[in-house]
């Protein structure tokens, strides 16, 4: 076992491989204040990658409804339950154990193996709770904070993947050029130790090919400087895709680094598991800063909410600017700049590809169009 530094935990931790960060790390920030649960991302991915026979249940991208739902069933509750109560120190360092440090006898990490039934209800917690609370017993009492939010998830292409270290024959690898984690389709022999190991349950087993597969972060597109399908098709424009740096190498003018390291408004998902996931989330501001939220996004979730609220109240032009860049182009943005009332974005080739006004211009048109001699109608 080696000692590696996990910056999300603020400490070193045990991992079977030496620390070896990629040249660039593909990552993203999802603004949970804007996700409408339309599932366009899920289907964008599915039509691209998982429409083969045997992949029907696979949602490399899924959107679940918190707090009720999860896909596969209880994926987070199960691993948190196994991990047991853990703590963060007052200085922000994780003082508990990771899944690697909690490995039971004979295993490399804490984990569990799902069954097919665990995938049978991908959208559980979304529709069946929409009945009057008088007709079903939801154990709700007044006063109760009525809230929910959508949690879109893909493989986190973790810095310390549980899947990669679990495979006894190194069939899973992390690309040095962009940090994308892949299952070698020629080498996998479906031992499925990875399937047991991934706490986020983003490794899937193909019923037809009988080997494991997972989100590929649309690497053919990323190699050409284009965003993955789930990112570029996002209707709500919640996703900021880019290359996230570790804190000591971050660039302030990199949109993802700005959200994660400068404003610190973007938080990792269940960082206590110890994998240093590279998909970050802006916590929803309408959910109370509660143990639930802090368990999910770490002890500073509430601070992220305050930062976001502050920006929405008009006090943080730069944060609003970066969020406006979301899905404004299909090119991966590596650099941004606010110039006057515009935000500009440059792609991986250094080309300016987008220039967005910070405030959408308002244009007044008279009711009667003189040139065409017709009345204009407001079409809803």
């Amino acid at each position: 076992m080696a000692e590696v530094f996990n910056w999300q935990l603020g400490r070193k931790m045990l991992y079977p491989y030496e620390e070896s960060r990629p040249q660039k790390q593909g990552g993203a920030v999802f603004d949970l204040n804007k996700c409408i649960g339309c599932q366009t991302c899920s289907l964008a991915c599915k039509t691209t990658w998982t429409s083969g026979k045997g992949q029907e249940y696979e949602f490399w991208n899924n959107v679940e409804t918190k707090p009720w739902g999860s896909f596969p069933e209880a994926w987070d509750v199960n691993i948190l339950d196994k991990l047991g109560t853990q703590s963060w120190g007052s200085d922000g360092t994780y003082t508990g154990k990771t899944i690697f440090e909690s490995a039971p006898e004979g295993k490399k990490n804490l984990g569990w193996t799902p069954t097919d039934m665990d995938y049978a209800y991908p959208n559980r917690g979304e529709d069946e709770t929409n009945v009057s609370i008088r007709t079903r017993d939801y154990k709700l009492t007044l006063p109760h904070d009525m809230w929910y939010f959508y949690l879109p998830r893909i493989c986190n292409h973790c810095t310390y993947p549980a899947c990669l270290q679990a495979c006894p024959r190194t069939s899973i690898y992390k690309r040095p050029e962009d940090g994308i984690v892949l299952v070698d389709q020629e080498r996998c022999r479906s031992y499925r130790v990875c399937f047991d190991a991934c706490p986020y349950k983003k490794i899937f087993y193909n019923h037809t090919t009988r080997i494991s597969e997972k989100c590929v972060m649309c690497f053919p597109a990323v190699e050409e400087g284009y965003m993955p399908r789930c990112m570029r098709n996002c209707i709500g424009k919640i996703r900021t895709f880019g290359f996230v740096s570790p804190p000591d190498k971050m660039r302030e003018d990199n949109p993802v680094d700005f959200l994660v390291h400068v404003r610190k408004v973007a938080k990792p998902l269940y960082p206590q598991l110890g994998l240093e996931p590279n998909i970050y989330y802006i916590p929803p501001i309408h959910v109370p800063d509660s143990p639930f939220l802090r368990q999910m996004f770490g002890p500073t979730a509430g601070e992220a909410q305050e930062t976001y609220k502050n920006a929405m109240e008009g006090n943080d032009k730069e944060l609003v600017a970066v969020l406006l860049l979301n899905v404004s182009t299909d090119r991966i943005l590596e650099r941004f700049k606010v110039e006057g009332n515009y935000v500009l974005g440059w792609d991986i080739n250094g080309d300016e590809v987008v220039r967005i006004p910070l405030k959408e211009p308002t244009i007044e048109r008279p009711a009667f169009d003189e040139a065409l001699t017709v009345y204009r109608y407001n079409t809803p």
């Binding site: 097919d116 006894p168 024959r169 019923h207 037809t208 009988r210």
Partner: protein, 324 residues
């Protein structure tokens, strides 16, 4: 012994059925063999030195006219019954903390050009489908290395001395016997609107099959098949895979696939033959010859216990294989 006669003794796990399914004999091992009367001659052959916990340390392959692939062939009665002591696996994570059984029966025959092994063991729940996400298979394997290979070779060979592994899989057997098992075998009510680019068909009972993808040359929708991963192969012809390993985690399918075999269910377990030519075709694979020796080990997997890879029950020792 009469076909329906049974003998109590220091038995290994479970009875075993040899030949016609109506015959039944108990395996006799250890000191109980001496009390078997007519079975003494066979028992003597199998008592070669006596390894740890009473198991055999030598597997003798008797010479016959032709090695039978069918485990139910009467010719297997000619082969001496060897009892191989099995072990847990605590060398490579994830461990199998408890062996699935204490010993299995192994018989070996050769005919001057091929060698065959017959393994039989108790496993009351047959696992011959790997379609479900937690569908793990029953399997067994014979490992071969040149005579005199150091004990470390038992753990998947070494860089200096590779191990040749002949691996029978229950789900491959089912694919061979019944044709490729599509996912409807596990999920009979599965439907999908559309599996691009195969046009949806109007007949309600028609399911898209792997053949549709192959015929239309669009197997990239089935990545493992497109990558020609042998585990994904939908056109298997034999249930045994030949592989080479140079240490844990290095297992690789060999270019030549000249092993074959057959596994059948017994009343409470499996009887499996693994057959291959004596002559080696791969670098590192031992060539066997009449009168010669080699090193041999075996291993078992139980799908019921989610066995796969190193999560298996291997033989305790690397044994000597002697060809008559």
């Amino acid at each position: 012994m009469a076909d329906n006669e049974t003998k109590e003794g220091n038995s290994v796990d479970g009875p075993e059925v040899l030949g016609a399914k109506t015959s039944r004999r108990r395996i006799i091992a250890g000191m109980g063999a001496a009390a078997a009367g007519g079975a003494v001659a066979v028992a003597t052959l199998s008592r070669n030195g006596g390894g740890e916990q009473g198991g055999d340390t030598k597997v003798v392959a008797k010479k016959v006219g032709q090695v039978p692939t069918n485990p139910e062939d009467e010719a297997w009665n000619k082969a001496p019954r060897q009892s191989i002591t099995m072990d847990s696996q605590k060398m490579v994570l994830p461990y199998k903390l408890t062996a699935m059984l204490k010993a299995i029966e192994v018989r070996a025959l050769h005919d001057g050009s091929s060698i065959g092994f017959r393994l039989s063991w108790k496993d009351t729940e047959a696992n011959d489908l790997t379609i479900a996400v937690d569908g793990f298979r029953d399997a067994c394997a014979v490992m071969l290395a040149p005579a005199g290979a150091p004990p470390g070779v038992r753990v998947m060979g070494t860089v200096d001395q590779p191990a040749t592994i002949l691996h029978w899989k229950a789900d491959w057997q089912r694919d061979v016997d019944q044709g490729f098992q599509e996912l409807e075998v596990e999920f009979p009510r599965a439907t999908a609107d559309f599996h691009p680019p195969i046009a949806p068909t109007p007949e309600p009972e028609r399911h898209v099959t792997v053949t549709d993808y192959i015929d239309r040359e669009v197997t990239w929708w089935l990545p493992g098949i497109h990558a020609q991963n042998p585990v994904s192969n939908p056109r298997k012809t034999v249930p045994v895979e030949k592989m080479l390993a140079k240490g844990p985690g290095t297992l690789a399918t060999t270019d030549t696939q000249d092993a074959t075999g057959k596994g059948v269910r017994t009343d409470d377990g499996w009887a499996v033959t693994i057959v291959k030519p004596l002559t080696a075709t791969e670098e590192g694979e031992p060539t066997l010859e009449a009168g010669g020796d080699a090193a041999v080990a075996v291993a078992l997997w139980s799908g019921t216990d989610n066995d796969s890879g190193g999560h298996k029950t291997p033989s305790l020792e690397l044994l000597t294989l002697h060809l008559e």
